[in-house]
């Protein structure tokens, strides 16, 4: 959209936090220090599965320089039979993930923590803690965990009447799939696996915590939600939320992985016990072994269509790894998988499977890429069997306003069909491929998006500028977008607006930066606050002029008298009104708090070109475009940034990223050298087709943007590899060894 009626919305402004970030000034959690600070370190399990019989910390405590030692016994107990939900988490599992209680459940599972005058002494003390284990057999992969004689992780989990590693299920049903398949002319059924992939944020988890003798607690940490940090720390330590000030440091990437705590409550207890501020910073190896990732999966999808391309039935079964404690994103997999399509008969089933791996954390549209991978790969084959263009098959079945989705809602105005149309009409899609082993793949995806709780305060400074405070860590440029909106509404210059992220004592409750919710929700509360401020400004001008406030308009950053008074008074600027604020009623400012609704889902369609080196098995992405309905691009550069980042992560998931375990149940590649995320030389430019179908339920038309661009990626890449090689590889990643093996198997088969 090229809407010229806006001065700031849609402009590529310079982000308010930019200069700090390009000069090294921006303060991330690990950059913080406090006077008298000591260092915390965690002792981690050497076994993937064992009963903890006893922990003896006496030798560690006796080491000179050690200030405190903590184990699970120092924290609030959450018995396994009493659920304590907090958002989508459960404190029973959070507490056991933070520090092992009855059992260690994965290699690297935290057991105890030490605070000492240096990191080295803390590490030395950890090694002096004596833990007596009863080592148990372990299960890493889904099939191992589901085997008849599988080691059971949790005695309290039962499925179908017996102890099991299936911790939960979720089912979506629409229509009658059996009747649907009976109508089908073409049916394709295929099974897939995907590996767990890490969120891969470059900043490791870090915090500094200071607890005063009266329990007043200050937490400086890197997270996707300072209020989440406050709540979880309060739950786990027993310190009331009112006593905890959680300060959001700049966050060095999260992608969902920083929506839970690992360190903050531990540092809090260490600080409380030692009487000193405590700093904890994870190493990259600790991050890879014991945080995130998202689930690995196995799934089977069956889709039936009529000759004319009408999809008549879709069925999916998705097994997702939860890691060692319940809670995999089966809702994202089972719920989003078929959502782009208007299918009358859908049956989607998800299983939450625990095994001896680190507990999964959210990762960008949690679960949705797993569901989309299976469905979009099967659709590719359905299109081939029907002799139909794969995008035209999608367009024919596209969900639109009024479509009833299997996961519940009836869609309002959505832009899915437009993403497919734009892809079909794009130069990219129309440009023929040239190389022998080049191929093109397409795929679509859906993500729910989220609204939820947000707070904002808009204050006019004494010199007539504006400070906006919100409550969500800015992870991808949201401050710039909020400044665009505020400047637009007030009719003032962008540079007059400063946007701050408040700590938990400064701004009202605001839910996580997650679910693609931040700009959607914060724009709503910022708009409400700014509109109240404008009313105040009009009132102040009316008071000065001695006329009724209804006779004042706010335009281009000025109060202006209207009607019969229009010629009587010169208009007043923000600066002039601010200077007179105390004489006209006091400081000017307004806040708003809301549980926002109306986020509505987001859709994207990707087109990917690859070239395969058939001698080495290397797949190179040579062109990639993401077409996405973004509602309204408040700041197009940062919208593109979300799309491009999502594309790159999808390519990494498809081609290289995976956790590799050794035979002892340990992660064998816990670093950036062997856990191979895309580097600059792996990728081409990443093109964006931004489509703006404004969200009718949002004042600026915003839809969530950040998560959808990951969803279609793995399938688009895999379908492109099929187009290049004529081989359908159903197991991710399509790493060189796996592609070579597929080529070899195919040529052997051809020779036989």
């Amino acid at each position: 959209m090229n809407d010229q009626s806006h001065k700031w919305i849609g402009k590529r402004t310079i982000r308010p936090d930019g200069a700090d970030k390009v000069t090294g000034r921006a303060a991330y959690a690990a950059d913080a220090t406090m006077p008298g600070m000591v260092w915390g370190k965690v002792l981690r399990s050497p076994h993937p599965h064992a009963v903890i019989k006893s922990i003896d910390t006496s030798k560690a405590e006796a080491l000179p320089g050690v200030k405190a030692v903590a184990t699970a016994a120092d924290f609030v107990d959450f018995p396994v039979d009493t659920p304590v939900p907090l958002g989508i988490q459960d404190m029973r599992w959070m507490s056991r993930n933070m520090l092992a209680k009855e059992k260690v459940l994965f290699h690297g599972h935290p057991i105890a923590a030490v605070a000492a005058t240096s990191e080295e002494i803390a590490a030395e003390a950890c090694a002096l803690i004596e833990v007596d284990y009863d080592v148990l057999p372990f299960a890493i992969e889904i099939d191992d965990a589901l085997a008849k004689d599988a080691p059971i992780l949790h005695d309290f989990i039962e499925f179908e009447g017996r102890k099991s590693n299936i911790a939960g299920t979720l089912e979506h049903k629409l229509g009658d799939v059996e009747a649907g398949f009976a109508e089908a002319d073409v049916i394709v059924e295929r099974s897939f696996t995907t590996k767990p992939v890490h969120q891969g944020y470059i900043e490791t988890h870090a915090c500094v915590v200071s607890v005063a003798p009266d329990d007043r607690t200050t937490i400086w940490s890197s997270s996707q939600g300072q209020f989440m940090v406050r709540a979880m720390t309060a739950y786990l330590t027993g310190i009331p939320q009112s006593h905890i000030k959680a300060i959001p440091a700049e966050i060095g990437g999260g992608f969902g992985g920083k929506t839970i705590v690992y360190l903050e409550p531990v540092a809090t207890i260490l600080s409380k016990k030692s009487g000193r501020p405590v700093k904890m910073v994870m190493t990259r190896e600790e991050v890879m072994r014991a945080t995130g990732p998202t689930s690995g999966s196995k799934s089977t999808v069956k889709i039936g269509a009529k000759k004319d391309g009408t999809i008549v039935a879709g069925q999916g079964t998705f097994y997702l790894q939860a890691g060692c404690l319940p809670g995999s994103p089966i809702r994202g997999a089972a719920g989003c998988a078929f959502a782009p399509y208007d299918i009358k008969n859908v049956h989607s089933f998800g299983y939450d499977v625990v095994s001896n791996r680190s507990k999964v954390a959210a990762y960008r549209a949690p679960g949705a890429p797993i569901g989309a991978f299976a469905v979009e790969c099967v659709l590719d084959e359905v299109a081939e069997k029907l002799g139909m263009d794969p995008l035209k098959l999608r367009l024919k079945n596209a969900a639109k306003e009024g479509t009833k989705a299997a996961h519940g809602p009836t869609f309002p105005r959505i832009g899915y069909a437009e993403t497919v149309e734009e892809a079909l009409n794009s130069t990219h899609y129309k440009t023929p491929l040239t190389g022998k082993y080049q191929g093109r793949g397409v795929a679509s995806g859906f993500w729910f998006n989220a609204g939820g709780e947000s707070s904002a305060q808009v204050n006019i400074t004494e010199d007539g500028n504006v400070v906006v405070t919100t409550g969500h860590p800015d992870i991808g440029g949201s401050r710039a977008s909020i400044a665009n909106i505020t400047a637009e509404l007030l009719g003032i210059d962008y540079d007059q607006v400063s946007v701050q992220i408040g700590d938990t004592a400064t701004i009202g409750y605001s839910n996580l930066t997650g679910g693609s919710r931040v700009l959607f929700a914060s724009a709503m509360v910022v708009t409400e606050s700014t509109e109240q401020v404008i009313e105040q400004l009009k009132g102040r001008a009316a008071k000065i002029w001695g006329i009724d406030p209804s006779q004042v308009v706010w335009e281009n950053g000025e109060a202006r008298p209207m009607g019969e008074h229009s010629a009587n008074f010169p208009s007043m600027s923000l600066e002039e009104l601010a200077a007179k604020a105390n004489a006209t009623g006091g400081p000017i400012g307004a806040g708003s708090q809301s549980n926002t609704v109306g986020a509505e889902g987001g859709f994207a369609t990707h087109v990917c070109d690859v070239e395969v080196d058939v001698d080495l098995g290397i797949v190179r992405v040579i062109r990639y475009t993401c077409f996405q309905d973004v509602g309204r691009a408040i700041h197009p550069s940062y919208v593109e940034g979300q799309l491009q980042g999502g594309m790159a992560q999808g390519i990494g998931w498809a081609l290289n990223e995976e956790y590799i375990y050794d035979k002892n149940g340990r992660v064998d590649n816990p670093g950036f050298l062997d856990y191979r995320m895309p580097v600059c030389s792996d990728l081409p430019m990443l093109d964006c087709g931004i489509i703006e179908i404004p969200n009718p339920k949002h004042p600026q038309g915003v839809r969530g943007v950040g998560e959808v661009p990951l969803v279609p990626g793995p399938a688009a890449v895999r379908n492109a590899v099929y187009d290049a090689l004529g081989i359908r590889i159903d197991d991710l990643p399509l790493s060189p060894p796996s592609v070579l093996a597929a080529i070899d198997a195919n040529s052997r088969q051809a020779a036989e």
Binding site: R12, I14, R15, D17, G18, A19, K21, V22, T23, G24, R25, A26, A27, Y28, A30, D31, Q199, G200, Y201, I202, E203, T204, E250, I251, G252, G253, G254, F255, V281, T283, R284, I475, G476, G477, H635, S637, Y638, E640, G641, Q644, G645, G646, M647, A648, Q649, G671, F672, L673, M677, P678, V679, C680, S681, D682, L683, M685, L686
Partner: protein, 160 residues
Amino acid sequence: MAKIHVSTTINGEPTEFLCDPADTVLDTLRDTLGLTGSKEGCGSGDCGACSITIDGRLVCSCLVLAAEADGHEIETIEGMAGSDHLHPLQRKFLETAALQCGICTPGFLMAAKSLLEKNPDPTETEVRYWLAGNLCRCTGYDKIVRAVMETAAEMREGAR
């Protein structure tokens, strides 16, 4: 073990510090000297977030021992901008939104500056391979590569 005394120059300032034998330059910059602009993403030389130059050579400061810095000149991100002006790369990164979370940005800027000093007219491929030692998880590198190419063009124009 006794501390080691090191004399060096950091961003043009003669600087002395004491370090443990096992301390890296990165540890010293961040924990001893308060120069926290260089970031630790991995500690193993794989992410480039701690990129600095020593005697003009681009290195990962997590892979150099602090004691080795004795007698050498170090440049860090803190030395890149003047008090009233940004380096053209810094300005271009802001204008083109070549950063999101910003944790990798100091490393990318140091690496890109080093590239343009050696090669003022790099191709896209040269930029991509030079920056392949710096990980970014947010941007997909697109805007970073464009920012470096555009800055190079402007700096060539300015030098003419």
